[in-house]
Protein backbone atom coordinates (compact mmCIF):
# COMPACT_ATOMS: atom_id res chain seq x y z
CA UNK A 1 0.00 0.00 0.00
CA UNK A 2 2.79 2.36 1.01
CA UNK A 3 6.01 1.84 -0.94
CA UNK A 4 9.18 3.74 -0.18
CA UNK A 5 12.07 3.40 -2.60
CA UNK A 6 15.63 4.53 -1.95
CA UNK A 7 14.43 7.55 0.00
CA UNK A 8 17.12 10.04 1.06
CA UNK A 9 16.84 13.39 2.74
CA UNK A 10 19.75 15.73 3.28
CA UNK A 11 18.94 19.02 4.97
CA UNK A 12 20.34 22.34 3.85
CA UNK A 13 22.90 22.26 6.65
CA UNK A 14 24.36 19.03 5.25
CA UNK A 15 22.77 16.82 7.86
CA UNK A 16 21.91 13.50 6.24
CA UNK A 17 18.71 12.52 8.02
CA UNK A 18 17.71 9.59 5.83
CA UNK A 19 19.87 7.46 3.57
CA UNK A 20 18.47 5.26 0.78
CA UNK A 21 15.64 3.87 2.83
CA UNK A 22 13.32 1.17 1.46
CA UNK A 23 10.11 0.20 3.17
CA UNK A 24 6.85 -1.52 2.24
CA UNK A 25 3.73 -1.37 4.34
CA UNK A 26 0.63 -3.42 3.59
CA UNK A 27 -2.97 -2.24 3.79
CA UNK A 28 -4.33 -2.21 7.32
CA UNK A 29 -0.97 -2.89 8.89
CA UNK A 30 0.16 -1.08 12.03
CA UNK A 31 3.89 -0.42 11.84
CA UNK A 32 5.93 1.17 14.61
CA UNK A 33 9.24 2.89 14.02
CA UNK A 34 11.56 3.01 16.99
CA UNK A 35 15.06 4.34 17.26
CA UNK A 36 17.33 6.78 19.01
CA UNK A 37 17.16 10.47 18.32
CA UNK A 38 18.57 11.58 14.99
CA UNK A 39 17.70 8.37 13.19
CA UNK A 40 15.31 10.09 10.82
CA UNK A 41 11.99 8.82 12.16
CA UNK A 42 10.33 12.21 12.19
CA UNK A 43 11.93 13.13 8.87
CA UNK A 44 10.45 10.00 7.33
CA UNK A 45 6.99 10.84 8.64
CA UNK A 46 7.21 14.41 7.39
CA UNK A 47 8.15 13.16 3.93
CA UNK A 48 5.22 10.73 3.88
CA UNK A 49 2.89 13.49 5.11
CA UNK A 50 4.09 15.63 2.22
CA UNK A 51 5.28 18.39 4.55
CA UNK A 52 8.86 18.11 3.29
CA UNK A 53 10.31 16.96 0.00
CA UNK A 54 12.86 14.19 -0.33
CA UNK A 55 16.33 14.80 -1.73
CA UNK A 56 16.02 11.62 -3.77
CA UNK A 57 13.89 8.51 -3.89
CA UNK A 58 10.16 8.12 -4.02
CA UNK A 59 7.15 7.47 -1.84
CA UNK A 60 4.09 5.87 -3.40
CA UNK A 61 0.70 5.49 -1.86
CA UNK A 62 -0.77 2.66 -3.95
CA UNK A 63 0.30 3.98 -7.32
CA UNK A 64 0.31 7.70 -6.69
CA UNK A 65 3.61 9.37 -5.91
CA UNK A 66 3.36 11.54 -2.79
CA UNK A 67 4.51 15.06 -3.53
CA UNK A 68 2.49 17.02 -0.98
CA UNK A 69 -0.18 16.63 1.67
CA UNK A 70 -2.85 14.21 0.51
CA UNK A 71 -6.44 13.54 1.52
CA UNK A 72 -5.52 9.88 1.96
CA UNK A 73 -2.96 10.62 4.66
CA UNK A 74 -3.98 11.70 8.14
CA UNK A 75 -1.38 13.09 10.51
CA UNK A 76 -1.28 13.14 14.29
CA UNK A 77 1.55 15.17 15.74
CA UNK A 78 3.41 14.90 19.00
CA UNK A 79 1.39 17.86 20.33
CA UNK A 80 -2.37 18.09 19.80
CA UNK A 81 -1.97 21.24 17.69
CA UNK A 82 -5.61 22.14 18.06
CA UNK A 83 -6.61 25.60 16.87
CA UNK A 84 -7.08 27.56 20.09
CA UNK A 85 -9.70 29.84 18.51
CA UNK A 86 -12.01 26.99 17.52
CA UNK A 87 -14.19 24.93 19.84
CA UNK A 88 -13.49 21.20 20.02
CA UNK A 89 -16.41 20.64 17.62
CA UNK A 90 -14.98 23.06 15.06
CA UNK A 91 -11.47 21.69 15.49
CA UNK A 92 -12.63 18.16 14.80
CA UNK A 93 -14.67 19.37 11.83
CA UNK A 94 -11.72 21.33 10.41
CA UNK A 95 -11.20 18.97 7.49
CA UNK A 96 -14.90 18.73 6.64
CA UNK A 97 -15.55 22.25 5.36
CA UNK A 98 -16.82 20.83 2.07
CA UNK A 99 -19.77 19.18 3.82
CA UNK A 100 -23.03 20.77 4.94
CA UNK A 101 -23.33 21.87 8.55
CA UNK A 102 -25.84 19.11 9.16
CA UNK A 103 -23.55 16.36 7.87
CA UNK A 104 -20.63 17.84 9.80
CA UNK A 105 -22.54 17.85 13.07
CA UNK A 106 -23.41 14.19 12.78
CA UNK A 107 -19.88 13.12 11.91
CA UNK A 108 -18.32 15.24 14.66
CA UNK A 109 -20.71 13.99 17.35
CA UNK A 110 -19.94 10.44 16.30
CA UNK A 111 -16.18 11.02 16.21
CA UNK A 112 -16.16 12.68 19.62
CA UNK A 113 -18.13 9.89 21.21
CA UNK A 114 -15.70 7.36 19.80
CA UNK A 115 -12.75 9.08 21.48
CA UNK A 116 -14.73 9.53 24.70
CA UNK A 117 -15.23 13.28 24.40
CA UNK A 118 -19.01 13.46 24.08
CA UNK A 119 -20.29 16.59 25.74
CA UNK A 120 -16.97 18.39 25.33
CA UNK A 121 -17.63 19.67 21.81
CA UNK A 122 -18.60 23.19 22.83
CA UNK A 123 -15.49 23.72 24.96
CA UNK A 124 -12.29 25.51 24.03
CA UNK A 125 -9.10 23.47 23.67
CA UNK A 126 -7.57 25.24 26.67
CA UNK A 127 -10.33 23.85 28.86
CA UNK A 128 -9.31 20.26 28.14
CA UNK A 129 -6.51 18.23 29.68
CA UNK A 130 -3.53 17.19 27.59
CA UNK A 131 -4.92 13.71 27.07
CA UNK A 132 -8.33 15.02 26.05
CA UNK A 133 -6.73 17.44 23.60
CA UNK A 134 -4.78 14.63 22.01
CA UNK A 135 -7.96 12.58 21.72
CA UNK A 136 -9.61 15.51 19.95
CA UNK A 137 -6.60 15.64 17.62
CA UNK A 138 -7.03 11.93 16.89
CA UNK A 139 -10.71 12.50 16.13
CA UNK A 140 -9.78 15.39 13.81
CA UNK A 141 -7.32 13.21 11.90
CA UNK A 142 -9.62 10.20 11.62
CA UNK A 143 -12.86 11.98 10.76
CA UNK A 144 -11.82 12.39 7.13
CA UNK A 145 -11.23 8.61 6.99
CA UNK A 146 -7.68 8.67 5.69
CA UNK A 147 -6.37 5.39 4.34
CA UNK A 148 -2.98 5.98 5.92
CA UNK A 149 -2.59 7.43 9.40
CA UNK A 150 0.84 8.60 10.47
CA UNK A 151 1.59 9.45 14.07
CA UNK A 152 4.70 11.15 15.40
CA UNK A 153 5.18 10.15 19.04
CA UNK A 154 1.55 11.08 19.67
CA UNK A 155 1.44 9.93 23.28
CA UNK A 156 4.90 10.87 24.49
CA UNK A 157 3.78 13.96 26.39
CA UNK A 158 1.15 12.10 28.38
CA UNK A 159 1.30 10.25 31.65
CA UNK A 160 1.34 6.42 31.49
CA UNK A 161 -2.30 5.91 32.48
CA UNK A 162 -3.62 8.37 29.93
CA UNK A 163 -1.30 6.83 27.38
CA UNK A 164 -2.71 3.34 27.92
CA UNK A 165 -6.28 4.53 27.70
CA UNK A 166 -5.44 6.29 24.43
CA UNK A 167 -3.88 3.08 23.11
CA UNK A 168 -7.18 1.34 23.70
CA UNK A 169 -9.12 4.15 22.02
CA UNK A 170 -6.77 4.08 19.07
CA UNK A 171 -7.04 0.34 18.59
CA UNK A 172 -10.84 0.39 18.76
CA UNK A 173 -10.93 3.21 16.22
CA UNK A 174 -8.50 1.39 14.00
CA UNK A 175 -10.65 -1.72 14.20
CA UNK A 176 -13.58 0.09 12.58
CA UNK A 177 -12.07 1.05 9.25
CA UNK A 178 -8.64 -0.59 9.56
CA UNK A 179 -6.53 2.18 8.08
CA UNK A 180 -2.82 1.59 7.62
CA UNK A 181 -0.96 3.13 10.54
CA UNK A 182 2.65 4.21 10.75
CA UNK A 183 3.60 5.18 14.27
CA UNK A 184 6.84 6.71 15.47
CA UNK A 185 7.60 6.17 19.13
CA UNK A 186 10.50 5.94 21.51
CA UNK A 187 8.51 3.75 23.86
CA UNK A 188 9.17 0.06 23.11
CA UNK A 189 6.22 -1.05 25.22
CA UNK A 190 3.93 1.20 23.19
CA UNK A 191 5.34 -0.20 19.97
CA UNK A 192 4.83 -3.80 21.04
CA UNK A 193 1.33 -3.24 22.36
CA UNK A 194 0.12 -1.50 19.20
CA UNK A 195 2.07 -2.64 16.17
CA UNK A 196 2.00 -5.67 13.89
CA UNK A 197 5.55 -4.94 12.91
CA UNK A 198 8.26 -3.00 14.71
CA UNK A 199 11.13 -1.46 12.79
CA UNK A 200 14.26 -0.36 14.59
CA UNK A 201 16.08 2.52 12.92
CA UNK A 202 19.71 3.48 13.15
CA UNK A 203 21.07 7.02 13.33
CA UNK A 204 23.74 8.92 11.36
CA UNK A 205 22.50 8.63 8.69
CA UNK A 206 18.98 7.34 9.31
CA UNK A 207 18.46 3.80 7.99
CA UNK A 208 16.52 0.68 8.81
CA UNK A 209 18.35 -1.47 11.31
CA UNK A 210 16.17 -4.47 12.07
CA UNK A 211 12.56 -5.60 11.75
CA UNK A 212 10.43 -7.52 14.24
CA UNK A 213 7.08 -9.04 13.29
CA UNK A 214 4.68 -9.01 16.20
CA UNK A 215 2.19 -11.86 16.00
CA UNK A 216 0.80 -11.55 19.53
CA UNK A 217 -3.00 -11.54 19.50
CA UNK A 218 -4.91 -8.50 20.71
CA UNK A 219 -5.59 -7.37 23.35
CA UNK A 220 -1.98 -7.81 24.34
CA UNK A 221 -0.97 -8.56 27.87
CA UNK A 222 1.95 -6.40 28.87
CA UNK A 223 2.91 -8.89 31.53
CA UNK A 224 2.81 -11.91 29.22
CA UNK A 225 5.97 -13.79 28.29
CA UNK A 226 5.58 -13.22 24.55
CA UNK A 227 5.28 -9.47 25.11
CA UNK A 228 8.37 -9.42 27.26
CA UNK A 229 10.51 -11.46 24.92
CA UNK A 230 9.70 -9.25 21.92
CA UNK A 231 10.32 -6.13 24.00
CA UNK A 232 13.64 -7.50 25.12
CA UNK A 233 14.84 -8.32 21.63
CA UNK A 234 13.82 -4.86 20.43
CA UNK A 235 15.66 -3.19 23.27
CA UNK A 236 18.73 -5.24 22.44
CA UNK A 237 18.48 -4.28 18.81
CA UNK A 238 18.06 -0.61 19.81
CA UNK A 239 21.24 -0.83 21.85
CA UNK A 240 23.12 -2.23 18.91
CA UNK A 241 21.66 0.34 16.54
CA UNK A 242 23.14 3.13 18.62
CA UNK A 243 26.66 1.69 18.57
CA UNK A 244 28.83 3.23 15.87
CA UNK A 245 28.78 0.86 12.92
CA UNK A 246 32.04 -0.26 11.30
CA UNK A 247 31.56 1.50 8.00
CA UNK A 248 33.83 4.57 7.99
CA UNK A 249 35.21 3.50 4.62
CA UNK A 250 31.81 3.91 3.00
CA UNK A 251 31.46 7.38 4.39
CA UNK A 252 35.01 8.43 3.53
CA UNK A 253 34.45 8.02 -0.19
CA UNK A 254 31.41 10.10 -0.77
CA UNK A 255 31.29 9.12 -4.42
CA UNK A 256 30.27 5.56 -3.82
CA UNK A 257 27.43 6.19 -1.41
CA UNK A 258 26.56 3.03 0.44
CA UNK A 259 24.43 0.99 -1.87
CA UNK A 260 23.06 -1.46 0.61
Amino acid sequence: MLRIDALSKTYADGNKALDTLDLNIGTGEIVALVGGSGCGKTTLLRLIAGLDTATSGEIRLDDAVISGPSADVGVIFQEPRLFPWLTIDDNVAFGLSHLSAFEREGLVANALSRVGLSGHGHRWPRELSGGQQQRAAIARALITRPRLLIMDEPFSALDPTTRQSLHRHLLSLWDESRPTVLLVTHDVEEAVSLADRIIVMRPNPGRLHEEFPNLLSRPRDRMGTGFESISRSILKSLDQSLKPTPQPAARATAGEAAWW
Binding site: F77, R81, P84, L86, T87, G130, A157, D159, S165
Partner: protein, 293 residues
Protein backbone atom coordinates in the same frame (compact mmCIF):
# COMPACT_ATOMS: atom_id res chain seq x y z
CA UNK B 1 5.23 15.00 31.26
CA UNK B 2 3.31 17.97 32.54
CA UNK B 3 2.34 17.06 36.03
CA UNK B 4 4.36 19.29 38.31
CA UNK B 5 1.26 20.56 40.08
CA UNK B 6 0.21 17.14 41.18
CA UNK B 7 3.08 16.49 43.56
CA UNK B 8 0.95 17.43 46.52
CA UNK B 9 -1.67 14.84 45.60
CA UNK B 10 0.76 12.12 44.66
CA UNK B 11 -1.24 9.61 46.65
CA UNK B 12 -4.35 9.96 44.49
CA UNK B 13 -5.01 6.98 42.22
CA UNK B 14 -3.75 7.93 38.77
CA UNK B 15 -6.92 6.76 37.04
CA UNK B 16 -8.84 9.61 38.63
CA UNK B 17 -6.51 12.13 37.10
CA UNK B 18 -7.32 10.99 33.62
CA UNK B 19 -9.96 13.58 32.99
CA UNK B 20 -8.48 16.20 35.25
CA UNK B 21 -6.48 19.05 33.74
CA UNK B 22 -3.00 17.75 33.15
CA UNK B 23 -1.05 20.95 33.51
CA UNK B 24 -1.08 23.92 35.84
CA UNK B 25 -1.89 26.33 33.00
CA UNK B 26 -4.89 24.29 31.98
CA UNK B 27 -6.04 24.07 35.54
CA UNK B 28 -5.84 27.84 35.77
CA UNK B 29 -7.76 28.21 32.53
CA UNK B 30 -10.73 26.24 33.74
CA UNK B 31 -11.52 28.28 36.81
CA UNK B 32 -10.56 31.92 36.43
CA UNK B 33 -14.03 33.25 37.25
CA UNK B 34 -14.00 34.03 40.97
CA UNK B 35 -10.49 35.45 41.25
CA UNK B 36 -10.79 38.41 38.83
CA UNK B 37 -14.21 39.33 40.20
CA UNK B 38 -12.76 39.76 43.65
CA UNK B 39 -9.75 41.62 42.31
CA UNK B 40 -11.98 44.00 40.38
CA UNK B 41 -14.12 44.79 43.39
CA UNK B 42 -11.37 45.70 45.81
CA UNK B 43 -8.97 46.93 43.13
CA UNK B 44 -11.53 49.43 41.85
CA UNK B 45 -12.10 51.02 45.24
CA UNK B 46 -8.44 50.95 46.25
CA UNK B 47 -7.51 52.55 42.96
CA UNK B 48 -9.89 55.48 43.52
CA UNK B 49 -8.68 56.18 47.03
CA UNK B 50 -5.48 58.06 46.21
CA UNK B 51 -6.86 60.53 43.63
CA UNK B 52 -9.94 61.07 45.77
CA UNK B 53 -7.84 61.85 48.83
CA UNK B 54 -5.60 64.20 46.86
CA UNK B 55 -8.64 66.02 45.49
CA UNK B 56 -10.03 66.42 49.01
CA UNK B 57 -6.74 67.80 50.33
CA UNK B 58 -6.52 70.17 47.39
CA UNK B 59 -10.09 71.36 47.82
CA UNK B 60 -9.63 71.80 51.58
CA UNK B 61 -6.39 73.73 51.25
CA UNK B 62 -8.06 76.24 48.92
CA UNK B 63 -11.16 76.54 51.10
CA UNK B 64 -9.05 77.01 54.23
CA UNK B 65 -7.04 79.71 52.54
CA UNK B 66 -3.67 77.92 52.32
CA UNK B 67 -3.71 78.51 48.58
CA UNK B 68 -5.61 81.02 46.50
CA UNK B 69 -6.36 78.39 43.87
CA UNK B 70 -5.74 80.72 40.92
CA UNK B 71 -3.13 78.55 39.20
CA UNK B 72 -4.31 75.40 40.98
CA UNK B 73 -8.11 75.57 40.79
CA UNK B 74 -9.82 73.26 43.26
CA UNK B 75 -11.82 70.27 42.00
CA UNK B 76 -15.10 72.06 42.65
CA UNK B 77 -14.14 74.90 40.28
CA UNK B 78 -12.97 72.46 37.59
CA UNK B 79 -16.26 70.64 37.99
CA UNK B 80 -18.18 73.90 37.66
CA UNK B 81 -16.21 74.83 34.53
CA UNK B 82 -16.90 71.44 33.02
CA UNK B 83 -20.58 71.88 33.84
CA UNK B 84 -20.62 75.32 32.23
CA UNK B 85 -18.89 74.03 29.12
CA UNK B 86 -21.39 71.21 28.95
CA UNK B 87 -24.35 73.55 29.49
CA UNK B 88 -23.37 75.94 26.71
CA UNK B 89 -22.77 73.02 24.34
CA UNK B 90 -19.13 74.00 23.95
CA UNK B 91 -17.89 70.77 25.49
CA UNK B 92 -19.88 68.65 23.09
CA UNK B 93 -18.75 70.57 20.01
CA UNK B 94 -15.08 70.56 21.07
CA UNK B 95 -15.18 66.88 22.02
CA UNK B 96 -17.03 66.09 18.80
CA UNK B 97 -14.39 67.83 16.69
CA UNK B 98 -11.60 66.00 18.49
CA UNK B 99 -13.34 62.64 18.23
CA UNK B 100 -13.98 63.12 14.54
CA UNK B 101 -10.29 63.84 13.91
CA UNK B 102 -9.15 60.87 15.98
CA UNK B 103 -11.65 58.61 14.24
CA UNK B 104 -10.60 59.71 10.76
CA UNK B 105 -6.88 59.57 11.54
CA UNK B 106 -7.20 56.27 13.35
CA UNK B 107 -9.21 54.76 10.51
CA UNK B 108 -6.67 55.78 7.87
CA UNK B 109 -3.61 54.92 9.94
CA UNK B 110 -4.97 51.59 11.13
CA UNK B 111 -6.02 50.57 7.62
CA UNK B 112 -2.67 51.50 6.11
CA UNK B 113 -0.76 49.91 8.98
CA UNK B 114 -2.76 46.70 8.71
CA UNK B 115 -2.34 46.39 4.94
CA UNK B 116 1.37 47.20 4.85
CA UNK B 117 2.00 45.15 7.99
CA UNK B 118 0.26 42.20 6.37
CA UNK B 119 2.32 42.54 3.19
CA UNK B 120 5.55 42.86 5.13
CA UNK B 121 4.71 40.04 7.53
CA UNK B 122 3.54 37.63 4.85
CA UNK B 123 6.37 38.02 2.36
CA UNK B 124 10.02 38.02 3.41
CA UNK B 125 10.96 39.68 0.12
CA UNK B 126 8.55 42.55 0.66
CA UNK B 127 9.76 42.87 4.21
CA UNK B 128 13.33 43.27 3.03
CA UNK B 129 12.21 45.91 0.55
CA UNK B 130 9.82 47.89 2.73
CA UNK B 131 10.86 47.46 6.30
CA UNK B 132 14.12 49.48 6.32
CA UNK B 133 12.37 52.49 4.81
CA UNK B 134 9.46 52.32 7.21
CA UNK B 135 11.79 51.84 10.17
CA UNK B 136 13.75 54.93 9.09
CA UNK B 137 10.51 56.92 8.81
CA UNK B 138 9.52 55.67 12.23
CA UNK B 139 12.69 57.15 13.69
CA UNK B 140 11.44 60.62 12.75
CA UNK B 141 9.53 62.23 15.60
CA UNK B 142 6.05 62.48 14.10
CA UNK B 143 5.59 66.09 15.22
CA UNK B 144 8.43 66.97 12.85
CA UNK B 145 6.03 66.36 9.98
CA UNK B 146 3.74 69.17 11.10
CA UNK B 147 5.25 72.01 9.05
CA UNK B 148 5.40 69.83 5.97
CA UNK B 149 1.84 68.61 6.36
CA UNK B 150 0.64 72.20 6.77
CA UNK B 151 2.43 73.20 3.57
CA UNK B 152 1.11 70.17 1.69
CA UNK B 153 -2.39 69.82 3.10
CA UNK B 154 -3.21 73.24 4.46
CA UNK B 155 -3.89 74.40 7.97
CA UNK B 156 -7.34 72.82 8.26
CA UNK B 157 -8.56 69.29 8.82
CA UNK B 158 -6.49 67.32 6.29
CA UNK B 159 -3.13 68.07 7.89
CA UNK B 160 -4.46 67.21 11.35
CA UNK B 161 -5.93 63.92 10.23
CA UNK B 162 -2.68 63.10 8.41
CA UNK B 163 -0.61 63.68 11.53
CA UNK B 164 -2.85 61.45 13.61
CA UNK B 165 -2.79 58.78 10.90
CA UNK B 166 1.03 58.81 10.94
CA UNK B 167 0.99 58.32 14.69
CA UNK B 168 -1.45 55.43 14.49
CA UNK B 169 0.22 53.78 11.51
CA UNK B 170 3.49 52.64 13.08
CA UNK B 171 2.32 50.63 16.07
CA UNK B 172 -0.30 48.93 13.91
CA UNK B 173 2.20 48.19 11.14
CA UNK B 174 4.77 46.80 13.56
CA UNK B 175 2.20 44.78 15.49
CA UNK B 176 0.68 43.15 12.42
CA UNK B 177 4.04 42.44 10.75
CA UNK B 178 5.50 40.92 13.92
CA UNK B 179 2.40 38.85 14.60
CA UNK B 180 2.31 37.50 11.06
CA UNK B 181 5.93 36.48 10.96
CA UNK B 182 5.52 34.92 14.38
CA UNK B 183 2.55 32.66 13.61
CA UNK B 184 3.36 29.19 14.96
CA UNK B 185 4.80 27.01 12.20
CA UNK B 186 3.22 23.98 13.84
CA UNK B 187 -0.28 25.29 13.46
CA UNK B 188 0.40 26.33 9.85
CA UNK B 189 1.46 22.72 9.23
CA UNK B 190 -1.93 21.49 10.40
CA UNK B 191 -3.46 23.75 7.75
CA UNK B 192 -1.10 22.27 5.18
CA UNK B 193 -2.04 18.72 6.18
CA UNK B 194 -5.65 19.66 5.45
CA UNK B 195 -4.52 21.05 2.08
CA UNK B 196 -5.80 24.57 2.60
CA UNK B 197 -5.33 26.90 -0.34
CA UNK B 198 -3.38 30.11 0.21
CA UNK B 199 -6.58 32.07 0.68
CA UNK B 200 -8.14 29.48 2.99
CA UNK B 201 -4.94 29.40 5.02
CA UNK B 202 -5.15 33.15 5.56
CA UNK B 203 -8.84 33.10 6.41
CA UNK B 204 -8.92 29.99 8.59
CA UNK B 205 -5.49 29.96 10.23
CA UNK B 206 -3.41 33.10 9.86
CA UNK B 207 -6.06 35.74 10.54
CA UNK B 208 -7.44 34.15 13.69
CA UNK B 209 -3.90 33.50 14.89
CA UNK B 210 -2.86 37.15 14.63
CA UNK B 211 -6.17 38.59 15.83
CA UNK B 212 -5.11 39.15 19.47
CA UNK B 213 -1.89 40.89 18.44
CA UNK B 214 -3.79 42.98 15.89
CA UNK B 215 -6.28 44.17 18.49
CA UNK B 216 -3.46 45.04 20.89
CA UNK B 217 -1.78 47.00 18.09
CA UNK B 218 -5.03 48.84 17.38
CA UNK B 219 -5.34 49.78 21.04
CA UNK B 220 -1.78 51.10 21.11
CA UNK B 221 -2.53 53.00 17.90
CA UNK B 222 -5.69 54.48 19.34
CA UNK B 223 -3.77 55.70 22.39
CA UNK B 224 -1.23 57.37 20.13
CA UNK B 225 -4.08 58.82 18.08
CA UNK B 226 -5.29 60.70 21.15
CA UNK B 227 -1.74 61.84 21.83
CA UNK B 228 -1.34 63.21 18.33
CA UNK B 229 -4.72 64.90 18.18
CA UNK B 230 -3.49 67.27 20.91
CA UNK B 231 -0.42 68.13 18.86
CA UNK B 232 -2.60 68.52 15.78
CA UNK B 233 -5.02 70.84 17.54
CA UNK B 234 -2.18 72.96 18.87
CA UNK B 235 -1.45 74.00 15.31
CA UNK B 236 -4.12 76.50 14.56
CA UNK B 237 -7.40 74.87 15.36
CA UNK B 238 -10.56 76.82 16.10
CA UNK B 239 -12.27 73.96 17.90
CA UNK B 240 -11.42 70.70 19.62
CA UNK B 241 -10.25 69.83 23.11
CA UNK B 242 -6.66 70.69 22.12
CA UNK B 243 -7.88 74.14 21.15
CA UNK B 244 -9.55 74.38 24.55
CA UNK B 245 -6.14 73.73 26.14
CA UNK B 246 -4.43 76.50 24.17
CA UNK B 247 -7.38 78.78 24.75
CA UNK B 248 -7.22 78.19 28.48
CA UNK B 249 -3.54 79.02 28.49
CA UNK B 250 -4.03 82.24 26.55
CA UNK B 251 -6.96 83.36 28.68
CA UNK B 252 -5.13 82.39 31.87
CA UNK B 253 -7.87 79.93 32.78
CA UNK B 254 -6.21 76.83 34.29
CA UNK B 255 -9.67 75.47 35.15
CA UNK B 256 -10.49 75.28 31.43
CA UNK B 257 -7.17 73.53 30.77
CA UNK B 258 -7.83 70.98 33.51
CA UNK B 259 -11.41 70.53 32.32
CA UNK B 260 -10.10 69.76 28.82
CA UNK B 261 -7.52 67.36 30.23
CA UNK B 262 -10.21 65.50 32.15
CA UNK B 263 -12.35 65.38 29.03
CA UNK B 264 -9.39 63.90 27.13
CA UNK B 265 -8.85 61.25 29.80
CA UNK B 266 -12.51 60.27 29.82
CA UNK B 267 -12.79 60.18 26.01
CA UNK B 268 -9.57 58.16 25.65
CA UNK B 269 -10.68 55.62 28.21
CA UNK B 270 -14.16 55.34 26.68
CA UNK B 271 -12.74 54.88 23.18
CA UNK B 272 -10.32 52.20 24.39
CA UNK B 273 -13.09 50.51 26.36
CA UNK B 274 -15.31 50.53 23.28
CA UNK B 275 -12.57 48.93 21.22
CA UNK B 276 -12.18 46.24 23.88
CA UNK B 277 -15.91 45.60 24.11
CA UNK B 278 -16.35 45.47 20.34
CA UNK B 279 -13.47 43.03 19.88
CA UNK B 280 -14.08 40.91 22.95
CA UNK B 281 -16.39 38.41 21.19
CA UNK B 282 -13.54 37.68 18.79
CA UNK B 283 -11.22 36.67 21.62
CA UNK B 284 -13.38 34.56 23.90
CA UNK B 285 -11.14 31.60 23.12
CA UNK B 286 -8.10 33.22 24.67
CA UNK B 287 -6.64 31.81 27.83
CA UNK B 288 -5.44 35.17 29.13
CA UNK B 289 -6.22 38.83 28.88
CA UNK B 290 -9.99 38.67 29.01
CA UNK B 291 -10.18 39.86 32.55
CA UNK B 292 -7.69 42.69 32.27
CA UNK B 293 -9.14 45.58 30.40
Amino acid sequence: MTLPASTTQAGAPPAERLDAPASPTLAAGTMPVPAPARRWGTGGIVGFMLPFALALVWEASVRLGFSNGRLMPPPSRIGATLWDLAQTGELASHAGATLWRVAAGFGLGAAAGTVLGAVSGASPVMRRIMDPTLQALRAIPSIAWVPLFILWLGIFEASKVALIAVGVFFPVYLGVAAALSGVDRKIIEVGRVFRLSRLQMIRRVTLPAILPAWITALRTGLGLGFMFVVAAEFMGASEGLGYLLVDGQQLGRPDRILAAIIAFAVLGKIADGLLVVVTRPLLTWQDVGRDRL
